[in-house]
Symmetry: none
C-alpha cells in the first residue's frame, strides 16, 4: 500500500509554520506497515491543489490531506476533493449541532461561514473532531482512498488516534507490523561505520538498516516487517548482534537517548557522585548533567576554573604542573580532575581543558583538548582530543567525548 | 519567479525528522520576493526522485533541493540531478582538499566514500560548506535553476546565508529592495506588547511590523520595501522611534543577538569581571557566557554550588543564613552572589538558587527562583521569580532574567 501525505496551506509555503503533521502521520502509517512515498505541501489555490490531487490519486493508494477544512474562503480542501471525485457536499447534522452548541455555550452568534465547517463530502465516512469544529472525512474512490484531516495538530493528532487508527488497523490486511530499533554510536563517523558494515548494508532486506548522522553521532535504524512480533524481535536481535560484533566499541545506547542520559543512569546505578573542573567548557558539562532531573543523587557541584589563577589558587592545581606543562596539557587535566574530586568530596572527578578558539592559546590551536578522569580509587585517565568546528562545536564535542570516555572507564572499573 | 523546495531523505518519510529546512528556505525566498508554490519530500529512491525532478523542472523556475549529498550509498541527489541534465560529476579540488585535511587533522584514514562528497556537477557554481564536508551547487539549465544544499540545518542554513543569499540578491530583478530590522524585547508578553503598539500595528504599511514570540522573548520584525536604501533606513528609524517611545524599557537589542551577547558586550565595555554561583542552573549561565569568544576578558570562573553543603563549606554562605531562610531564599541568593564575587576576585557576583522541578524542594514549588547580584561597590540586588514550564524552561528563563536584571543594574550603576 503506497501512501502520500498532502498538507494544504499557504502559511506552510511562507515558512510561517513547519509541516510537523507529515512527520506525525508518517510514524503512524509506518506502524501499520504502510509505506509513505511522498510528502507534498501546496498553497490555498484551487488550480494547484487540483493538480496535486490528480497526481496523488494516480500514484498513491492512500492520500492523506491535512488543513484547509476551516471556515474561511481560502479553505478549499473538501470542495476540491469533492470536485475531482464528482461528489456534492452535504451537511453533517452531528457536526452542525456541535458547532451550534459551541457558540451557544459561549453566548456568541454563529456566523454563516462557521456552518460551512459542518459540510462533508457525500458518501464519505466522517471522522469526529473532539477538539475543534471541522470534522475529518474518509472517501473511497475507484482509484484511491482520500483521508481529510484538520490542520491544527491539536485537532488532527487526537482525531488520528481515536478515529483513523481503528480504520487503519481494520484495513491492515497483511497483518504485517513494522518494528523499529535505533542503535546509537559515538566516536565514529557515518562513512567509517557504513564502511565497516558495508556488506550488511548492501544485503539488507528485512530488517532494513538506515544510517543517520547527527551532532557528531551516528544512529542505525533497524526496521523489520513481520506478522509475528516475536520473530520481529529475533530478526532485530540477530542483525544487532552482527552489527555490534563489528562496531560494538562505539555503541552506547538505544532509541531516543543521549550520552549524558546514559552516563547519568550509570552513575546512579553505581551510586557515584561526580564533580567537574571545567575550563574551555565553562560549565557546559555540569549544565547538561543537571538538566536531567534527579541530578542531586550524583552531583554536589563543580568548579569552573576558566582562568589560570583559578586553576591554581582556587582549584589547587600545583603551580609547578602549570609552569612546566601549561594549562592546555594532559598533566594539568589530570591534576584538575584529582583536585575537583577532592575539593567537592566526590567519587569521580572529570576535567576539561583546551582551546575552544577562535584564537590560539599558549601556541596551541583551537580543538586541542584534554579530558581528565579520576575514579573512586583514584584510577587516573587522560585523553587528548583534536577537534574541528567552531567554538560551540568544539565545546559540545568535548563534553560528548567526556561522557563517552567516562562510560568506558565505568565499564573497566566494574570489570576489574 | 516560481520556486519549489524538494527535500530528499527516507528519514523524513518515516517521520524520524521534521522538514524544517523547507520553512527556513521559504522565509529566505520570501525575503527576495520569490513565490514558493510547492514543498515536496521524496525518499532515497532514484526512480521517484527522477520523477519529482522532471516535474519540478517543468512547473518551477527555481528548484531547491536539500539532503542526499552525503557519503553513503543512499545519497544520490547530485547523481540524479546530473543524470536528468545530462551532466557528469567532477571532483571539486577545494572541497577534496578540505575533506582530506579534515581527516588528517584527526589522524584518521579517509575512506573512499568520503571522496564522493567532493564530487560536484560539471558546469555548476559550487557553494562552499563551512560547517561540513558536502559542498552545495547551483546549476542553470534551459528549463530552470537547480540549487543543491546539504540536509543538516547546521550546514544548510549558514550556506544559504553566506553563499546562496548573495546570488539571490544579484538575481533580484525588481529594483525594489527589501530591508528588515529586528527589535528584541524581554520581560513583556507578545499580547501586552502588541496592545501597547496596537495603533502602529493597525496602520502599518511600509514598513510592516511583524511581532513574533519565542523562548520567553518577543521580537518585532520591521520590513520596508524601497528603491532607495537611504529612505528605507529613514522609514525604519522613524517606526523604531515610535515603538521604543512606548515599550523602550523592554527593548534590549537588534537582529540575531541574545541577552547574553548584549550583557557580554556591556561587561567588556565597562571592563568588569563577573563570577557566578549557580545552583538550579548548574552551570548554564557560565556555559552561555563562555560560549561567546573573548570571555576571558570578563570571566575568571564560577562555582556550581548544587548541594547545600557546597554552598556552605566551599562557597562560604553562612550556615546561619541557610538555617534561618533555607537555600531557596532571597537571603541565600544574596550571600551566594557576595561569596562568589569575593572567592573568585571578580567585580560582579551573580547567583541563581531555586526549584527547577519536577519535584518540590523545602516545600517550595518548581519555578520559585531567586537571582542575586553583587556589584563592583557591593551594590546588592535580589529578584524573586515565579517561572512556569518544565525543568529546562525554568533553568533557561532563570538565566535570561539574570542577564536582563544585570543589564538594568549596569545602566543604574553607570548613571549614578
Amino acid at each position: 500500500m503506497k501512501a502520500e501525505i498532502i498538507a494544504v496551506g499557504s502559511e506552510l509555503l511562507l515558512g510561517q509554520i513547519v509541516n510537523s503533521n507529515a512527520a506525525f502521520l508518517s510514524v503512524e502509517l509506518a506502524q501499520h506497515g504502510i509505506d509513505v512515498f511522498y510528502h507534498v505541501v501546496v498553497g490555498d489555490n484551487e488550480e494547484r491543489l487540483t493538480d496535486v490531487l490528480n497526481q496523488a490519486s494516480k500514484r498513491s493508494d492512500l492520500v492523506i490531506l491535512t488543513g484547509g477544512l476551516g471556515p474561511t474562503k481560502d479553505d478549499l480542501t473538501k470542495e476540491t476533493v469533492a470536485e475531482i471525485c464528482g461528489k456534492d457536499l452535504v451537511y453533517h447534522q452531528q457536526s452542525l449541532d456541535a458547532i451550534t452548541s459551541f457558540f451557544e455555550k459561549r453566548g456568541q452568534v454563529m456566523t454563516e461561514n462557521n456552518k460551512k465547517q459542518a459540510l462533508v463530502i457525500e458518501d464519505s465516512h466522517v471522522l469526529v473532531n473532539h477538539n475543534g469544529m471541522a470534522p475529518g472525512m474518509v472517501l473511497e474512490t475507484d482509484q484511491c482512498k482520500f483521508v481529510l484531516l484538520p490542520g491544527p495538530p491539536k485537532e488532527m493528532q487526537p482525531m488520528v488516534v481515536s478515529e483513523l487508527r481503528p480504520l487503519l488497523e481494520k484495513d491492515n490486511v497483511t497483518q504485517e507490523k513494522i518494528t523499529s530499533r535505533v542503535l546509537r554510536f559515538f566516536g565514529i563517523g557515518e562513512s567509517k561505520l557504513a564502511a565497516m558494515i558495508d556488506d550488511l548494508l548492501v544485503n539488507q532486506t528485512n530488517p532494513t538498516i538506515a544510517p543517520l548522522a547527527s551532532e557528531g553521532e551516528v544512529t542505525l535504524r533497524l526496521t523489520v516487517k513481520h506478522y509475528d512480533p516475536n520473530i520481529s524481535i529475533q530478526l532485530l536481535d540477530q542483525v544487532e548482534k552482527d552489527i555490534l560484533s563489528r562496531v560494538g566499541e562505539y555503541f552506547y545506547g538505544y532509541g531516543e537517548t543521549t550520552l549524558m542520559e546514559v552516563l547519568s543512569k550509570q552513575l546512579k546505578k553505581h551510586k557515584y557522585y561526580i564533580a567537574a573542573a571545567e575550563s574551555l567548557t565553562g560549565g557546559l558539562f555540569s549544565s547538561a548533567l543537571t538538566s536531567i532531573s534527579g541530578a542531586s543523587e550524583i552531583f554536589h557541584g563543580s568548579i569552573i576554573s576558566y582562568a589560570t589563577k583559578v586553576k591554581e589558587n582556587h582549584l589547587g592545581v600545583p603551580n609547578k604542573i602549570i609552569a612546566e606543562n601549561g594549562v592546555v596539557s594532559a598533566e594539568c587535566a589530570l591534576e584538575m580532575a584529582k583536585a575537583v574530586k577532592r575539593k567537592l568530596q566526590s567519587d569521580i572527578g572529570i576535567s576539561f581543558t583546551g582551546v575552544a578558539g577562535p584564537g590560539t592559546q599558549d601556541g596551541k590551536k583551537p580543538g586541542e583538548v584534554y579530558v581528565g578522569i579520576c575514579g573512586p580509587n583514584d584510577e587516573a585517565a587522560v585523553h587528548k582530543l583534536k577537534l574541528s568546528g567552531n567554538r560551540e562545536a568544539i565545546r559540545q564535542r568535548t563534553i560528548n567525548y567526556g561522557c563517552f570516555y567516562l562510560l568506558n572507564e565505568l565499564k573497566r572499573w566494574n570489570i576489574e
